[in-house]
C-alpha cells in the first residue's frame, strides 16, 4: 500500500490566470483524488441588484468577467427583454451577434496563447496574442473599448457600425484567416504537443453528460451541446453547426477551440452579408415583472442568467451560473490518474475563468 501525500496546487501558480486551489492527493506521483476550493475572488456582484436599477445593472453584468464580458451583458439584456416582451430591431440582433463572435475569437486566441505558454511553447503564445491585437483594434474602433465594450443596453445596442466599416472588418478577418490557419497548424500538428496531450485526461461521454460539462469540455467528448443551436440573437437565420470531437482527451478539447476560430469567422461573414438596415435601439419604459432563464453560449460553454423582477426598478434576483462553475466536477473527475507534472496542462484545457465562476 503506497503512502498518500497531499500537494496543494494554487491559488498562486504560474499557469493559472486566476486563483483556483486544488488539493491533490497523490500516490507515487499519480493523482488519486482532488478536492477543489474556490472563493478567492468572490465579489458578491449579485447582491448589487438591490442598489442599482435594472438599466444601470448592465454595466455590472458586463464586469463579471473580463474575457467574456460582452456575452454576459447580452444574456442579461436578452433576459430582461424577454420578461418585458420587447422585440428589438433586427439590426441590433445582428450587431450583437457580430460583437459576440468577435469576443469569442479574442477569448479563444487568449486561451491559445496562455495554453501554449503553459506548455513552454512561447512563439505560439506571442503570435496568438499579436493576432488578437487586430481583433481588439476592430472592437475599439467600433465600440470604444477593447475588452469591456459597454455597448449593450436594454432595448438594443448603443452604437452603430457603418457599412464601410463592416466591409473593412470583413477584409481584415479574411486576411487574418491565413495566419490563423498557420498558427493552428503549427500548434495541432507539432510532435511534442501531440505527445504531451494525446490520451491525457480522458473524459468519457457519459461522464461528461452526467457531471454537467458544457462548452468545449463537453464537445471534445462527443456531446453536441451548443446553445447557439437554439437560435438566440441572429443565430436562427444563420447556418451554424457545432464543432465536435470524439476522443475526450486534452488534444480533442484543444482541437475544438482551434476549429471554433474558423467557425466564428464564418458566422461573422454570414452576419455581415445579411445584416438589414434600420434602427439599432428602441424606447423602453416600465420595469420587468416576472422571471426568466436566459441562456447563451460563451466561449467557455453555456451560461444561464436567472432574472426575477416584481415591477419595481430594482430587480429581486439576478443569478448567474457560469460555465466554469459547472465544469469543476468534470475537472475533479478527469484529473484522477494524471501524473503530477501534467496537472497544470490538464487544468488549462478546461479554460478556467474563475472570476466568472465566483462573481
Amino acid at each position: 500500500m503506497s503512502k498518500q501525500i497531499t500537494v496543494p496546487f494554487g491559488p498562486q501558480h504560474p499557469v493559472l490566470p486566476e486563483p483556483l486551489h486544488l488539493d491533490l492527493v497523490l500516490e507515487d506521483e499519480t493523482v488519486v483524488d482532488v478536492v477543489p476550493t474556490i472563493g478567492y475572488v468572490h465579489r458578491g456582484l449579485e447582491k448589487l441588484v438591490e442598489k442599482r436599477e435594472y438599466t444601470e445593472y448592465v454595466f455590472i453584468a458586463e464586469r463579471i468577467c473580463g474575457i467574456c464580458s460582452f456575452i454576459h451583458s447580452q444574456t442579461y439584456v436578452q433576459g430582461i427583454e424577454q420578461i418585458m416582451g420587447l422585440e428589438i430591431p433586427e439590426r441590433a440582433q445582428y450587431l450583437r451577434t457580430i460583437w459576440g463572435e468577435y469576443s469569442r475569437l479574442h477569448s479563444h486566441l487568449l486561451w491559445l496563447g496562455l495554453f501554449a505558454d503553459g506548455m513552454g511553447f512561447e512563439s505560439v503564445f506571442m503570435n496568438a496574442w499579436r493576432l488578437r491585437e487586430h481583433i481588439l483594434d476592430d472592437l475599439e474602433a467600433t465600440t470604444g473599448g477593447r475588452v469591456i465594450l459597454g455597448v449593450c443596453k436594454v432595448g438594443g445596442v448603443r452604437k452603430d457600425i457603418t457599412p464601410e466599416k463592416l466591409d473593412e472588418m470583413l477584409r481584415g478577418l479574411k486576411a487574418m484567416e491565413r495566419e490563423l490557419q498557420d498558427l493552428t497548424n503549427v500548434f495541432l500538428h507539432d510532435n511534442s504537443v501531440s505527445h504531451r496531450l494525446k490520451g491525457l485526461g480522458v473524459l468519457k461521454k457519459e461522464d461528461a453528460y452526467q457531471l454537467g460539462a458544457v462548452g468545449p469540455t463537453a464537445r471534445g467528448s462527443g456531446l453536441a451541446i451548443d446553445i447557439r443551436s437554439t437560435g438566440y440573437g441572429a443565430f436562427d437565420r444563420i447556418n451554424f453547426r457545432p464543432v465536435v470531437e470524439q476522443d475526450g482527451d486534452c488534444y480533442a478539447r484543444c482541437a475544438v477551440r482551434a476549429r471554433e476560430l474558423f467557425t466564428s469567422i464564418d458566422i461573422i461573414e454570414q452576419c455581415i452579408k445579411k445584416i438589414p438596415d434600420g434602427p439599432v435601439d428602441m424606447k423602453v419604459t416600465g420595469a420587468p415583472d416576472g422571471e426568466y432563464f436566459s441562456r447563451t453560449e460563451q466561449p467557455r460553454g453555456e451560461v444561464i442568467h436567472y432574472i426575477k423582477g416584481n415591477g419595481k426598478k430594482n430587480l429581486v434576483r439576478h443569478r448567474v451560473r457560469t460555465p466554469t462553475f459547472t465544469n469543476i466536477p468534470p475537472l475533479v473527475t478527469l484529473l484522477k490518474g494524471v501524473e503530477l507534472a501534467d496537472v497544470p496542462v490538464v487544468v488549462l484545457t478546461i479554460d478556467p475563468c474563475i472570476g466568472c465562476a465566483e462573481r
Binding site: I38, G39, K47, K51, I304, Y306
Partner: protein
C-alpha cells in the same frame, strides 16, 4: 423568439425523487439557484435535455433542512455548498461537504441579510 418556460412547485420531500426521475429520463443538471423573497427562500432546480428546460421550485424557511441530490447528480455539490455558504440553508448528505468553507466571507451567510442603502456603493 424563445419557448415559454414553466416552473413547477413541488414539496421539499419530493426533491430527491424528482431528481432521480430526471436522471433516469436523461436530463442533465443545469443549476440550482436560491432567491430570498421576504422571509422565505425559493430554491429552483433546473434540468435540461435537448435544449428544453425542466424547472422545479421549492419554498423553504431559513431552518428547513433540504436533502441533497448529489446521489443522483455528482456535480450538485458545488451548488449546494454555495447555497449553504451564502444563504445559510442546511443541505444534508452532500457527497463533498465543505462545511461552510467553500466561500470564506467577512460576514457569514451574506445573501441572507438585506443591506439598506447607506450612501455610496
Amino acid at each position: 423568439m424563445m419557448a415559454a418556460q414553466t416552473i413547477t412547485q413541488i414539496a421539499v420531500g419530493e426533491v430527491v425523487a424528482k431528481a432521480e426521475q430526471a436522471q433516469r429520463d436523461g436530463y442533465r443538471l443545469v443549476q440550482i439557484g436560491c432567491t430570498k423573497i421576504g422571509d422565505d427562500f425559493e430554491i429552483i432546480y433546473v434540468y435540461d435535455k435537448d435544449f428544453v428546460l425542466l424547472n422545479y421550485r421549492i419554498t423553504v424557511k431559513q431552518d428547513t433542512v433540504v436533502p441533497s441530490i448529489s446521489g443522483a447528480y455528482f456535480g450538485a455539490f458545488v451548488y449546494e455548498n454555495e447555497i449553504h455558504d451564502l444563504y445559510g440553508i442546511t443541505v444534508s448528505g452532500i457527497n463533498i461537504d465543505f462545511k461552510g468553507t467553500f466561500y470564506r466571507t467577512a460576514i457569514k451567510h451574506p445573501f441572507s441579510v438585506t443591506i439598506t442603502k447607506e450612501g455610496d456603493a
